[in-house]
């Protein structure tokens, strides 16, 4: 009886140690590789927005956080990557959020050149409805490419809407909420950029 209890306790303890040991060991062993992979992926998505030719700094490490729940769409700190060439600011890429998608947050990378024009926008994660809201993905529709080159003066505020609301950006058939939310987020980021341009580029990386 006692022997059996000891055996049970021993097996449970050992398998817990074995299980956690396996996890801890593989985690420790692979961590540097995982970090490198994540950095590579981040860099390649940033390079889609800002061409490699246009900057020469260590983009993934030249980053600063900003908090502005109104304009950046989240109460969490938002990462802003700063692209520079020969030490001069070129563009900033915001990893911000459109909080009012059809089905919650839409995560965006929004690149803005120093002169306030949009360099490019891409969706990194969302839960919009397949075949309706997911046309915001670059691989499903060219819609998201339509922001490049626009700024707060082109169009003016009334134009920063979907066509149905009197603006210049297309909505999708049967889905207005998703594109409306993305258009609004891009404009808000441009406003934030205009208000904080000095601060965005001058402060040292965090």
């Amino acid at each position: 009886m006692v022997k059996q209890i000891i055996k049970v306790v021993l097996v449970l303890t050992l398998s817990t140690i074995l299980g956690t040991g396996m996890v801890v060991f593989s985690y420790q062993w692979t961590l540097p590789r995982i970090i490198a992979n994540e950095r590579m992926t981040l860099l390649s998505s940033l390079n889609v927005i800002i061409d490699k030719e246009h900057y020469d700094n260590d983009l993934t490490n030249d980053v600063r956080h900003f908090v502005d729940s109104d304009l950046l769409g989240t109460t969490e700190p938002v990462m802003v990557y700063r692209a520079r060439k020969n030490g001069q600011p070129v563009a900033a890429v915001f990893n911000s959020v459109a909080p009012d998608g059809y089905n919650g947050n839409i995560y965006l990378l929004i690149g803005i050149y120093l002169d306030g024009r949009v360099a490019g926008v891409r969706v990194t994660a969302h839960q919009e409805t397949p075949a309706l809201g997911d046309k915001i993905e670059a691989k499903r529709s060219p819609w998201i490419l339509g922001f490049a080159g626009h700024s707060l003066t082109d169009p003016l505020e009334t134009g920063w809407k979907v066509k149905k609301d009197g603006g210049i950006f297309d909505q999708f058939t049967g889905a207005t909420i998703t594109p409306r939310s993305v258009v609004k987020a891009v404009r808000n980021n441009l406003v934030f950029f205009q208000q904080h341009r000095q601060q965005i580029f001058e402060t040292p990386a965090q």
């Binding site: 059996q4 055996k7 049970v8 097996v11 449970l12 398998s15 817990t16 074995l18 299980g19 956690t20 396996m22 996890v23 593989s26 985690y27 692979t30 590789r33 995982i34 992979n37 994540e38 590579m40 992926t41 409805t129 397949p130 075949a131 309706l132 691989k139």
Partner: protein, 218 residues
Amino acid sequence: MPQSITSQYIEITQDALWRKNVGFVQLIGLCPLMAVTSTVINGLGLGIATMLTLIATNTVISLMRGVIPDEVRLPVFVILIAAIVTVIEVFTKAFYYDLYLILGIYIPLIVTNCAVIGRAEAFAFKNPVGQAILDGFMTGMGFTVALVLLGGIRELLGYGTLFSQAELMFGESARVLTVTVFEHYRGFLLAILPPGAFFGLALLIATKNWLDRQASPR
């Protein structure tokens, strides 16, 4: 009567792939089955990840079957399965990062797949390691077939394509695998939304039952 090894292997294979297919017959592991099968490639991805998990968990549990006392076998299974799934996740993240970006969200779902603990309890805990590995592999295959078929039905009806986004799994050269079956297809939302998974699975189960009935002598 002790069976020959070969006939045992044949029986394991037939059970796992057809007679007791976890997707169509045992109907366990439905949570991931329903959740991710909106396309063929999604189904294939989850299927392969589940198969690797089943092979690993069946192997470990079969090897330890002499040591694990009956009374605590379930907690021990849970610990081992959770650890193995986590290790698989970490390794995919480190060595197959592109694949991880697609399968990543499904890998933790595998822990919720009752088929894994089901095979541990019903098979691996009672059988030698060779059979346990084959059972893990074949059960995984059977599940993968179910996922791919369901993903195929839903993708075809929902998007009018097959194998879209194959490049995410097999690299850029696989982009050509995507077949657009219906040109200018408007899409059929119901097939992609969760109810589509239930309708699709019902169709597949009915088809299997019908085939079985055709085959059996009356």
